[in-house]
């Protein structure tokens, strides 16, 4: 045990002191913070304005084009050809031509441009025209647009889950999806990143022939476990520093520029006895609810509703469990080959369940309590990723514990299997190993 600790210490310190580790540890949060901050800035930066000249032969619609964020409209009452000449003289970016036939045959509408068409502007124009055409058609049919407007209803169902303990909880599937896929992908990267480090470490020891010196002092299993645990701790260290620094950077930036991050969490308004309210009061409450239904407010509430203790604890558990499960296999591969090129054939069985998990994540998110989600989240090879995807949606304790227990059993099984391959592999040189050989090593006793 003492020796295993010595090995863990060496594996940990030799990696943590590397320049590449220090650089990655500092750069990682900068990149992550940039990922969070830059989009906000970009959204606030106004794009260059796209100027569109309107040639409205019908003289019916030109007043309806209201300037938007990045699109500016100018009504020029001249013929199309002169308008296009003006555009060529760089007065405008595009010319919208509404011919007299437009209403009967909308396909005769034209948007001329020398440069590539700005998709947003095109969609915006199409929207306006569709609205106007519809209104005109309604008028033709004798329907008052006001009546139609009054029938328009915006539906936004608030999903409430009734929890076992009698509490009610609002569900925000969009936010849960984001968090789930983020957690899943993070586990995917960590397992591959640090699993590959285990493999390379084993190969290094084998190829520089120090391994025989070490296994004359410690058991091969101690060496393998020491390496796996040491690297797991490197991973945890890096992860915790990243989380801490990312929050520190985002916190600093948002404190320095409060107007950039103007999300004010709103009070939860809960309509408990809507029937008892008179219409005026109901109206008022409805407006409040509508206000609260802004995306930012939703995200804030959803983020507030998530059980962070479970999230973080299960992330750490499933990261460690998934890593341990795969790291043992990575170690076995590293021990069986003489050089990096030979690892390819053995990597496939490890890569497939991981990639499969990421591919299936979408399906799991669509139905987080369905049978696919259930089975994939308890099978040890896919559970680390799939369970992380499911957790933000809320997972029954039974599923969670079953998954945890099976993952522990799975990791014990792969470690046992890997140890048998490892102990033979590290002393085997100059032989191209096949799956058949690996199987023989596993079955051989002693």
């Amino acid at each position: 045990m003492n020796k295993t600790f010595t090995i863990i210490k060496r594996e940990y310190l030799s990696r943590v002191r590397k320049k590449s580790f220090i650089v990655m540890t500092i750069l990682g949060p900068l990149l992550m913070a940039a990922l969070l901050i830059v989009p906000v800035f970009i959204a606030r930066m106004s794009d260059s304005v796209y100027e569109v000249a309107i040639v409205d032969d019908t003289r019916l619609f030109h007043t309806e084009f209201v300037d938007a964020n990045n699109v500016k409209f100018t009504d020029i009452n001249i013929d199309v050809d002169s308008a296009i000449e003006l555009m060529k003289a760089n007065k405008f970016d595009a010319v919208l031509h509404i011919p007299t036939t437009a209403f009967q045959a909308p396909s005769t509408l034209r948007l001329f441009s020398e440069k590539a068409i700005n998709m947003n502007a095109k969609l915006y124009i199409e929207n306006i025209l569709r609205n106007e055409f519809e209104l005109m058609k309604l008028a033709h049919a004798g329907i008052d647009p006001e009546v139609l407007k009054a029938t328009e209803t915006k539906i936004s169902i608030t999903a409430i889950r009734l929890l076992r303990d009698g509490h009610e909880q609002t569900d925000y599937p969009e936010v849960s999806m984001g968090l789930g896929i983020f957690g899943g992908i993070l586990i995917y990267f960590f397992v591959f990143l640090f699993g590959a480090q285990v493999m390379r470490g084993v190969m290094e020891e084998k190829s520089n022939r120090i391994v025989e010196i070490i296994v004359s002092s410690v058991k091969p299993f101690q060496l393998m476990m020491g390496k796996i645990v040491g690297i797991a701790m490197v991973g945890l260290t890096q992860f915790l520093i990243w989380i801490f620094l990312t929050f520190a950077i985002v916190g600093t930036v948002s404190a320095a520029m409060p107007d950039v991050f103007r999300f004010t969490p709103q009070q939860n308004i809960y309509i408990s006895s809507a029937q008892s309210l008179n219409p005026a009061e109901l109206q008022q409450q409805m407006q409040q609810v509508e206000q609260q239904n802004t995306p930012a407010g939703q995200i804030m509430e959803a983020l507030g509703a998530i059980n962070y203790k479970v999230m973080i604890l299960s992330f750490i558990f499933f990261f460690l469990g998934g890593y341990l499960l795969y790291a043992a296999l990575f170690a076995a591969i590293g021990s069986a080959v003489d050089n990096e090129a030979d690892t390819q054939q053995f990597m496939l069985p490890i890569t497939i369940p991981m990639i499969f998990s990421i591919v299936m994540a979408q399906m799991v998110m669509n139905n987080p309590a369905g049978p696919v989600a259930f089975w994939l989240s308890i099978i040890p090879f896919t559970s680390p990723i799939i369970m992380m995807v499911r957790i933000p949606f809320g997972v029954p304790w039974f599923d969670l514990w079953l998954s945890v227990i099976l993952l522990i059993l799975g990791f014990l099984a792969t470690t046992w299997l890997a140890a048998k391959i490892y102990r033979t592999g590290i002393l085997m040189y100059g032989k191209k190993v096949s799956y058949k050989d690996l199987w023989k090593w596993v079955r051989r006793a002693g």
Binding site: N2, V215, S217
Partner: protein, 325 residues
């Protein structure tokens, strides 16, 4: 207890390949025990079994009369044939790490490492990375690591490969010093001249079986091929007549003062006494000595069944192989 290590009836099989068949070796205390054999004979397998890196399929292993177990690891030091170090790790730090894995207390390890580094002119390299060291220096570091925990039994597998002659001598004198201090040593090599120089006892393994073992001198005597060097003068008859029919000439050289130095082989049915009696009447004796076969000859004879001088041209290739490795 006369023996520090005993292996009795060891069997080890790898898939279809039999690595050791019914091998028994007895390693005497306080001596150097040569473990010899051609490539692939099973030496490394046996050494790994002694180090508990692998376990035998069958057989009994005793260390100091006790059944070999995990606590003996700290009493054995092993320098493998194929050896290396972490290239990116600092020399001193690495030596300390490997010493800790042998359960040496860090403080004590640091102290004795400094002494050994001083002795081997390695001290300035303490804080350098291993990859900056020459191969010879790396080998010295490995040697120090092997002996640092003062084991009772040392196992050297081809310890001199990769060393220049000066360092070979340095290492030899250190090995002999360790023997004189009471350490028992197992020495595995193809280099027969160093076997004759260092070993007291040997065991020869070929094709997974032990085919020869015992005290080096006794083995040599037992392998006498009846060759003697005669120094005689005042010859009354021709050399052939004098010797016939007891012995025949292998080589012949005239030296000054009329003394003839002749290498002869005694023919079947006669012995050294017969030869002396036969020569005495017709010549004057100046010298008579048995030519014991070299360890190289015994090795080749035992493995191939033929003496080197009798080997055909093709066989000679094998001879060269064994000799140079």
């Amino acid at each position: 207890m006369k023996y520090i290590f005993q292996a009795e009836n060891i069997y080890k099989q790898y898939e279809k390949h039999q690595a050791l068949t019914d091998v028994s070796v007895m390693v005497p205390r306080h001596g150097i025990f040569g473990l010899l054999g051609p490539n692939g004979a099973g030496k490394t397998t046996l050494i790994r079994i002694i180090n508990q890196i692998i376990s035998p399929d069958q057989g009994k292993l005793l260390f100091n009369g006790e059944k070999l177990n995990a606590k003996h690891i700290a009493q054995i030091g092993y320098l493998p044939e194929e050896r290396g170090l972490y290239k990116k790790m600092k020399v001193g730090e690495q030596a300390l790490y490997l010493a800790q894995l042998k359960n040496v207390d860090t403080k004590a390890a640091r102290k004795s490492l400094k002494e050994w580094f001083e002795k081997f002119d390695l001290l300035p390299w303490w804080d350098r990375k291993v990859e900056e060291l020459s191969k010879g220096m790396q080998q010295k570091v490995q040697f120090i690591i092997t002996i640092l925990h003062k084991p009772e039994l040392l196992i050297f597998d081809e310890p001199f490969s990769g060393f220049d002659p000066i360092n070979v001598n340095l290492l030899k004198s250190e090995i002999l010093k360790l023997r004189d201090q009471g350490t028992s040593i197992i020495f595995s090599t193809h280099n027969m001249s160093s076997v004759e120089e260092l070993c007291d006892h040997i065991a020869l393994i070929n094709k997974s079986e032990k085919i020869l073992d015992g005290n080096l001198e006794e083995i040599k005597k037992a392998h006498s091929n009846r060759i003697f060097t005669l120094e005689i003068g005042d010859l009354q008859k021709s050399m052939e007549e004098i010797l016939s029919p007891v012995a025949h000439i292998l080589s012949y050289e005239n030296s000054k003062d009329g003394i003839v130095k002749t290498k002869v082989r005694i023919d079947e049915g006669y012995n050294a006494n017969d030869l002396i009696k036969h020569i005495l009447p017709s010549a004057q004796f100046h010298g008579f000595q048995e030519e014991l076969p070299s360890m190289n000859d015994i090795f080749i004879k035992t493995v191939t069944g033929k003496y080197p001088q009798e080997l055909e041209k093709e066989d000679l290739k094998l001879h060269m192989d064994i000799d140079t490795q």
